[in-house]
């Protein structure tokens, strides 16, 4: 199998076959990430298309000492944030003081769930909350960093996350109930 280094060298030369090969190798790994930030599969594919075009444009700047997949993921995240930012202007995120407190008292269990179910739930979150939820819970950024990335205050990031987590809890609990009913009914 052709190595990543060889593939990159060919992609830099605008070899379309090599670009397709790189796409085939990584598209399915990056797609779940795009789906997490998007509200639908169509939306996710828009994000991924823009991301791949940026990837092919900026391959020359990639240094082999870095993890290639990590570099690809960062491009997808940045593309997704830019994609969502436009929508966030239309649905501005509120500051924590203006929101009713939402507490998540019990821990949520995800053990019975498939990632596609969680994806479907995340796609139901408002765009701002969804973006903050992804960045904090999965990507591992702090609220300060998220605030800088999304040009919101740290407090807003916290409140949006809290809101997203509460909504996710409600959806997960609902899903678990359905599972239990189904099991009891057998």
């Amino acid at each position: 199998m052709i190595l990543d280094e060889q593939l990159l060298a060919l992609c830099i030369k605008n070899d379309l076959k090599a670009q397709r090969m790189l796409y085939d190798r990584y598209a399915s790994k990056l797609m779940p990430m795009a789906l997490r930030y998007a509200k639908s599969q169509e939306d996710a594919e828009d994000i991924l298309q823009d991301a791949f075009i940026k990837i092919f444009d900026s391959l020359e700047s990639f240094r082999m000492e870095a993890q290639f997949l990590t570099w690809l993921k960062r491009i997808v995240i940045n593309t997704a944030i830019n994609h969502n930012r436009k929508k966030m202007y239309q649905q501005p995120m509120l500051d924590i003081e203006k929101l009713a407190p939402m507490h998540v008292e019990s821990e949520m269990t995800l053990s019975n769930m498939h990632f596609t179910e969680i994806l479907a739930m995340m796609q139901k979150l408002p765009v701002g909350s969804r973006t903050v939820f992804n960045l904090f819970a999965i990507e591992g950024y702090g609220h300060k960093e998220i605030g800088e990335m999304l040009e919101i205050s740290e407090g807003t990031s916290k409140s949006q996350y809290s809101r997203a987590k509460a909504l996710m809890k409600a959806m997960i609990e609902e899903a678990n109930k359905v599972v239990q009913i189904n099991l009891a009914g057998r």
């Binding site: 060889q6 060298a9 399915s28 797609m31 779940p32 990430m33 789906l35 599969q41 821990e107």
Partner: protein, 457 residues
């Protein structure tokens, strides 16, 4: 971070989800659109550069051309009038003024002849070539120029005059301390009989043979050429090498893949050289030069070989061995360096005074110094071809060569030339092997020439 976030991370860690096929279609279209845009700007840049070079070239030649010279001559005339008025006529006088000073009949006759030529004047050099006290021989440097009212120029043949000072001196009307070494005459065609009465014209001087100089020139220059390997046996079916693997079940070998070379194309390459030329007659000359060239031609390959510890590009006609790795197409560049010794006869087909055009033909001996194949994958090493192990190129080659040369004489010592040439290798000293190249080279060169003149007279 709580268990929830950790669980989420774990859930998505390694998750895969195949996008629809339309996604690649969209990406492919975007990439192709960008490439077209890139190509447009690439060619646009070259187009602008070429147009600029063309404009500058024309500007240079026209700025040096005759159109500006009448103004210079008129300016000179005005200055001379001023000087004459102040009684400060110098040894170097303008001949147009001289003619106007020929009183009274000469001036009238000259005016008659010049009446329809307008006021366009031009300085031309006349060299004093003998110091005989009684006879001063004037030879125009090459030709006289004639102007008409539309200010277009026509060049006429070399004119050589031998004049007797006692009976005719066109400059007698003005007081000159001594005859200058170089003086200017009016840009016009005049017939000597209208200017003078008795005069002597040496018929031998007017004969074309008298103008011929045994000219030896030293040339040096550089240029660019394209190299077509034109290898026999490299048609499409031979540009594919099948890789077979022995299948013990079938008891025979099966094709598992094939190595391909595609899209061969010539690349521009540089050449430098120096030589010597010798005029054999007014029309014929012989030249010989030594030329160092780096030829390049490109192609694509879909495989490389691992030979020893090195990964090497594959150009099938040049040969390969070892383990073969099939990869997406990559670019190959073949580079050959050579020393060529062309010997050519040239015939002057057009003579426009300082410009002349020559047709050339001759033979050339070429010796290849090196042959390298480079692939543009970063991990590939350069393949160096041993001429003793490949049948593709002969190290020694004999070729026929020909072309056109445009020469321009800057002054009696220096000249420039631009050559277009082709060279076809007509045979070598080795014929065995699957592939045999009969290269074809074409290109251009610019040369600076230094003349070592020997006048027959």
């Amino acid at each position: 971070m709580s268990n929830f976030e950790d669980d989420l991370k774990n859930m998505f860690d390694g998750a895969e989800f195949a996008p629809s096929e339309q996604l690649w279609t969209g990406i492919e279209e975007a990439l192709k659109a960008k490439r077209k845009k890139g190509m447009f700007f690439y060619w646009q840049s070259y187009g602008v550069a070429a147009a600029l070079a063309l404009v500058l070239t024309f500007a240079y030649f026209f700025s040096k051309g005759p159109n500006q010279q009448p103004e210079q001559a008129v300016k000179t005339l005005t200055e001379l009038k001023d000087k004459r008025a102040s009684g400060k006529i110098q040894a170097k006088a303008d001949s147009s003024e001289n003619l106007k000073s020929i009183e009274p009949n000469e001036k009238a006759m000259a005016s008659t002849r010049l009446g329809n030529l307008g006021q366009s004047l031009m300085n031309k050099k006349i060299e004093k070539v003998t110091s005989d006290p009684n006879k001063t021989r004037f030879v125009t440097s090459n030709e006289l120029h004639m102007a008409d009212q539309s200010n277009s120029l026509e060049e006429i043949a070399v004119m050589s005059m031998e004049l007797n000072n006692d009976r005719f001196n066109p400059f007698a009307a003005i007081v000159l301390p001594q005859l200058p070494e170089k003086i200017s005459i009016i840009k016009a065609r005049w017939e000597v009989k209208h200017l003078v009465g008795p005069m002597e014209i040496s018929s031998s001087d007017l004969a074309p043979e008298a103008k011929f100089e045994r000219l030896l020139s030293l040339n040096g220059g550089m240029g660019s050429s394209s190299f077509d390997p034109n290898a026999s046996g490299t048609s499409d079916e031979f540009n594919v090498a099948e890789l077979r693997s022995f299948d013990p079940m079938l008891g025979s070998s099966a094709i598992v893949s094939s190595v391909k070379n595609e899209n061969n194309q010539q690349l521009g390459s540089y050449a430098v050289g120096a030589g010597i030329g010798m005029a054999l007659s007014p029309s014929w000359s012989l030249s010989m030069s030594l030329r160092y060239s780096e030829y390049r031609f490109a192609g694509e390959s879909n495989a490389y070989s691992i030979e020893g510890q090195r990964s090497l590009p594959i150009y099938i006609p040049a040969g390969f061995q070892g383990d073969i790795v099939i990869v997406p197409n990559y670019q190959l560049t073949n580079s050959l360096t050579s020393l060529a010794l062309p010997v050519q006869m040239a015939y002057k087909v057009l003579d426009l005074g300082r410009f002349d055009l020559e047709a050339k033909a001759g033979l050339s001996v070429d010796y290849f110094l090196s042959y390298k194949i480079k692939g543009d994958l970063p991990f590939l090493s350069t393949r160096k071809i041993d001429f003793s192990e490949t049948s593709l190129f002969n190290r020694f080659n004999l070729g026929s060569t020909g072309g056109l040369g445009l020469n321009y004489e800057l002054n009696p010592q220096w000249g420039l030339s631009a050559d277009l040439f082709v060279r076809k290798y007509i045979g070598g000293f080795k014929e065995e092997g699957n592939f045999q190249s009969r290269p074809f080279v074409y290109g251009f060169s610019f040369n600076l020439r230094y003349f070592l003149r020997k006048d027959n007279n």
